[in-house]
Amino acid sequence: MRYFLVLFGITVLAVMGIAGRRLDDGGGTTRKPPIYVFPDMDRQLKLRPQEPNAFFPNGVSSQLPPPGTIARSEPLRVGDEAFYRYQDVPVFTGFVSGTTNFVEHNPIPVTAQVMQRGQERYAIHCAPCHGAVGDGNGITRKIGAMPVVGNLHEKRIVSMADGELFYVITHGRNLMGAYGPNIPPEDRWAIIWYVRALQRSRLGTLDDVPQELRASLNP
């Protein structure tokens, strides 16, 4: 019995010594990959996104669409109309159909929802550089990372057509990268509505304030 107890004690201590303890309560981190106790079907042969895969010559599971193709995908509904991505329509290009002239007006009608969406998306994608109010004083300016950031209240930008703003968001301009791959077209248009609202906030006059609210303004 004595031998058994000694052996038992040594085994328990050895297991605890080798296996260590859980790290779940701020117990630090480890470089060791996760352990699969019962690996049964944890990892299957199916493809998962953005994983290496030897089947394709370029070795990735998430293949890009072949060059020159456009995914059919879900249509974008604007009012009663539905547009597909392959169509040459302002809502996808920022151009007047069949030309390379920028559309003057945002093809997506503005609603409170669109404006809120625009505000949210602006905060995510634009505010880091252009700043929360669009004056170009975002965090990148504060840390001195970007030499030049466009001030959205500049006359040059205020007077741009909506289509041109769309084009710039989609393809980038000067130091600004292309945001087309990151922001879907309907969100780009929502952002443009919000940018217009920001600009308007600095260009407004007393005449823009409804008669009954003017009294509430501080002179």
Binding site: M1, F4, F8, T11, V12, V15, A19, R21, R22, L23, D24, G27, G28, T29, T30, R31, K32, P33, P34, I35, Y36, V37, M41, D42, R43, Q44, K46, R48, P49, Q50, E51, P52, N58, V60, L64, E120, A123, I124, H125, P128, C129, I139, T140, I143, A145, M146, P147, L175, M176, G177, A178, Y179, P181, N182, I183
Partner: protein, 217 residues
């Protein structure tokens, strides 16, 4: 006449019982403690090919999670950004830094950066990011305080018990939809959280399914 069995055998049954109990307890305790993602996964912090710091980008600079993980609201999968997303800033910032060599190469050639995936549920679990972030579950609930991590580590167990804990009481976790990526948001009080949670659960029709085929399809 001498006895067939020596005297110590009288104690044998007791010894066996004690031995079995001891070994049984030790094995049970060992399995309970070790055979769980709390031990097998939590704390995993792989060396990434590029020393990207979430603490700098999401914490200090305050970038929204969705600046990079653009697909999280639309897809079951929360994507790693393309290198071109990094280059939106890093074409200027740390332009020639050797730590970003891989990113620059990837942006130029399209060859992916071999990031090491940290959080990975088993392939028979069909977790959907979009349904969670669109119904008030914040990133922090499953990924921990990523905005404070220099290097990302596996902070929560992501075990089935972990999922079910929340699925049984979603009202304790759901939060306003504009606070999803605000990892430091805290409810005013527990009572306020429960009140909001109950209302949100009703209004957003949060089902928090607990049947098997909700996750195992």
């Amino acid at each position: 006449m001498s006895a067939i069995f020596p005297k110590w055998t009288n104690r044998l049954p007791m010894m066996i019982i004690v031995g079995v109990l001891l070994v049984g307890t030790a094995v049970t305790a060992g399995v309970w403690y070790y055979f769980t993602p709390k031990y097998t996964r939590v704390g995993y912090q792989p060396i990434q090919p590029v020393p990207f710091s979430h603490a700098t980008h999401a914490g200090q600079l305050g970038l929204d999670c969705r600046y990079c993980h653009t697909g999280v609201e639309k897809s079951w999968f929360s994507n790693i950004p393309a290198a071109s997303t990094c280059m939106n800033c890093h074409n200027q910032v740390l332009k020639d830094d050797p730590r970003l060599t891989l990113v620059r190469e990837s942006a130029a050639s399209g060859k992916p950066i071999p990031w090491v995936q940290v959080h990975k549920v088993p392939d028979f679990v069909y977790f959907n990011h979009s349904v969670h972030v669109n119904r008030g579950i914040s990133c922090v609930e499953c990924h921990g305080p990523v905005d404070q991590m220099e290097e990302v580590y596996h902070a929560k167990p992501l075990s089935m018990a972990f999922c079910l804990e929340c699925h049984r009481h979603p009202e304790t976790k759901v939060r306003p939809l504009d606070k999803i990526t605000d990892l430091n948001w805290r409810p005013e009080s527990e009572a306020a959280q429960l009140e909001f949670g109950r209302r949100a659960r009703e209004e957003w029709r949060v089902e928090a399914l607990q049947n098997c085929s909700a996750c195992h399809r």
